[in-house]
């Protein structure tokens, strides 16, 4: 069976999704979702442990060899991303049960889980495939299910946010198809490895730079790179809490992965950074993202929205690492991919707990929660410290590598601006902490601690935030290996 892991990783959730929809039992469809995500985690771990040493798994779908058939190709880079997605899913799905029961109408819950599993399938599929058109198909599977999930939020603005996301996301996806189409027209292949061999011969044509441009814009839309992030704050704010936690921790990460795969594997770093000089665009945009959206986050009154803007800033950190186009920079970016998933997942889950008990996530609704919901707010504090980058949390590890990469590139002012971003995080996180711990609670609203079924997944993520902040051996090893593969450096 382990030979078929790459495809089973995707097929099992893909089959689980319609079953969950057909069963129409809240508990059963939730259990199926749990099973699917845990299976994904098991498969992801199996894949990662096989490719950790630098090996590459190539799986020919249906026995058709590449480049004729669709190839699933797993190396340290996507095994890493798959692990992130699967890990977050297998924590977020158990968490979702209580939260969804409260926030989604009961006759829609089984459909909810069906869309949830489909979204997971799409994200895993994007990561595992080695075929560029297959990327598009899975991208649409994940995106369409994400639009549906977001629209299930309680507030009617969830509908408009989902619509807005649908429009922008579809434009992004269409840009990506245009880019893929142009590449296909020039080379006649859709296989990533095959493309990377055939593209150099046609690099000088006008079509390939145009394809590159379309793809870059498409990915930037999908990963919410400033200034193409406008869909994100509303979508994260009004989606059901569990969906926000899941999507915030995974969807943009996978989009970053797509960008990395196309830039480094398909086009090659030399073309992307020396010929197209995409770093000249990415670096300033990443810095502007970090600073401007952190500033916006400081002024938010809704904590989910605040965290959403913070996400855009954090994506800036990842893209900053990418734009340095060095092993150190990519390592930092890939590390932050994982680390940010952990911290944002924990923070959004904590807000889900607050939503569950208090029914609001506005800052003034947090008053006195430090006493009433001590575990939830403590989790928020740890997650917040991680965002800030306090030592012994994962955020520090990311920052350590990112600043070091910037300094190694001689960009000391970039390093300084990264620190400024951290300080802005102090402000927006502490605004919440201050209200939760220092403001007196309103009397007699009977708010109690969130149910254990939500607290346990939340604290699993919090523990991971600390564990991988103290013992970052595994994460740095895999991230470095992945960065070396992307840069084409063999250690």
């Amino acid at each position: 069976m382990s030979d078929h892991l790459p495809v089973l990783l995707v097929v099992v959730p893909l089959i689980a999704a319609p079953i969950a929809a057909l069963i129409r039992s809240v508990r059963l469809s939730w259990l199926i979702a749990c099973g699917a995500s845990w299976w994904a985690l098991y498969a992801a771990w199996g894949l990662l442990s096989r490719v950790r040493g630098g090996e590459v798994i190539s799986y020919a779908l249906g026995g058709w060899p590449a480049p004729y058939g669709i190839e699933y190709r797993v190396d340290a880079v996507n095994a890493w991303v798959i692990l992130i997605v699967a890990a977050i899913a297998s924590v977020a799905t158990p968490y979702a049960y209580q939260s969804v029961r409260r926030e989604v109408e009961s006759d829609r819950v089984s459909l909810f889980y069906s869309a949830w599993i489909l979204c997971l399938t799409g994200l895993l599929g994007i990561s595992v495939t080695g075929d560029v058109f297959n990327v598009f198909v899975f991208l649409e599977i994940s995106s369409l299910s994400a639009y549906a999930l977001i629209s299930l939020g309680q507030d009617r603005r969830a509908l408009t946010s989902a619509y807005q996301y649908l429009i922008m996301g579809s434009i992004g996806a269409t840009f990506i198809v245009i880019g893929i189409g142009l590449m296909y027209i020039m080379t006649g292949t859709l296989n990533m490895m095959d493309l990377s061999e055939r593209l150099p011969a046609v690099m000088d044509t006008r079509a390939i730079p145009v394809a590159f441009a379309f793809l870059t814009v498409g990915f930037s839309l999908k990963l919410a790179l400033f200034p193409l992030h406008l869909w994100l704050p509303n979508a994260y704010t009004f989606a059901p809490s569990a969906v926000t936690a899941f999507i915030a921790a995974t969807a943009t990460k996978v989009a970053v992965y797509m960008m990395l795969r196309f830039f480094f594997t398909v086009f090659g770093a030399a073309f992307a950074f020396d010929v197209m000089q995409v770093d000249l665009i990415l670096l300033p945009l990443a810095l502007v993202a970090i600073l401007s959206t952190s500033l916006v986050a400081i002024h938010q009154q809704n904590v989910k929205r605040l965290l959403a803007y913070s996400s855009v800033a954090q994506i800036g950190y990842m893209i900053l690492g990418v734009s340095l186009a060095s092993v150190a920079g990519l390592t930092a970016g890939l590390l932050h991919l994982f680390n940010h998933a952990l911290m944002k997942g924990a923070l959004f889950m904590a807000m889900g707990c607050v939503m569950y008990r208090v029914g609001s996530v506005r800052i003034d609704a947090m008053a006195g929660l430090g006493k009433k919901m001590p575990w939830t707010m403590a989790a928020f504090v740890v997650g917040g410290l991680s965002i800030i980058g306090v030592p012994l949390t994962v955020g520090f590890i990311s920052k350590w590598y990112l600043v070091q990469a910037a300094l190694a590139a001689g960009l000391w002012w970039v390093a300084a601006l990264v620190m400024v971003g951290s300080l802005m995080a102090v402000i927006y996180i502490w605004r919440v902490v201050e209200v939760a711990y220092l403001s007196p609670a309103p009397d007699g609203d009977g708010v109690a601690e969130a149910p254990l079924a939500m607290l346990i997944p939340l604290w699993v993520l919090v523990a991971a935030n600390v564990y991988f902040g103290v013992n970052a051996g595994l994460t740095t090893e895999v991230a470095t290996r992945a960065a070396e593969i992307l840069m084409g450096v063999t250690s």
Partner: protein, 126 residues
């Protein structure tokens, strides 16, 4: 190799821009979706144009040994793959439009309008 020789690509560009412009400029949510569909359709034509080879015939594999096969290997085929890809893309496009329209229906139920500006104002006044 003149401008008219590439007329299908020109159509692609014109359609693409029309669709894109509609998405951006229209405030009516349904019209936006129409624009989006137009935009996606233009890409379909782009792919299909790429599959067309002048003088090419339908790509039917003749499973025959001998002369017929010999002759078949010299026949010029159109590339079938873009059509297959675009079938998938069309399905995706339909799904997108369907989902978008169902969102519009729900929005209409919730707000009583499908005009972006009105919706925006109603949320502001909350």
């Amino acid at each position: 190799m003149n401008i008219l020789g590439h007329f299908n690509y020109w159509i692609v560009i014109v359609l693409m821009m029309m669709g894109f412009y509609t998405v951006i400029s229209r405030g009516n949510l349904v019209k936006k979706l129409i624009g989006l569909s137009l935009f996606q359709t233009s890409v379909f034509i782009l792919y299909i144009s790429a599959g067309k080879i002048t003088g090419g015939t339908a790509p039917i594999l003749i499973d025959d040994h001998g002369e017929a096969a010999e002759a078949a290997s010299h026949v010029l085929y159109s590339n079938p793959l873009p059509h297959v890809l675009i079938l998938t893309a069309i399905v995706v496009g339909i799904a997108t439009t369907a989902l978008g329209l169902s969102l519009v229906v729900r929005i209409n139920e919730a707000y009583g309008t499908v005009e972006e500006e009105v919706i925006h104002n109603r949320d502001e006044s909350l």
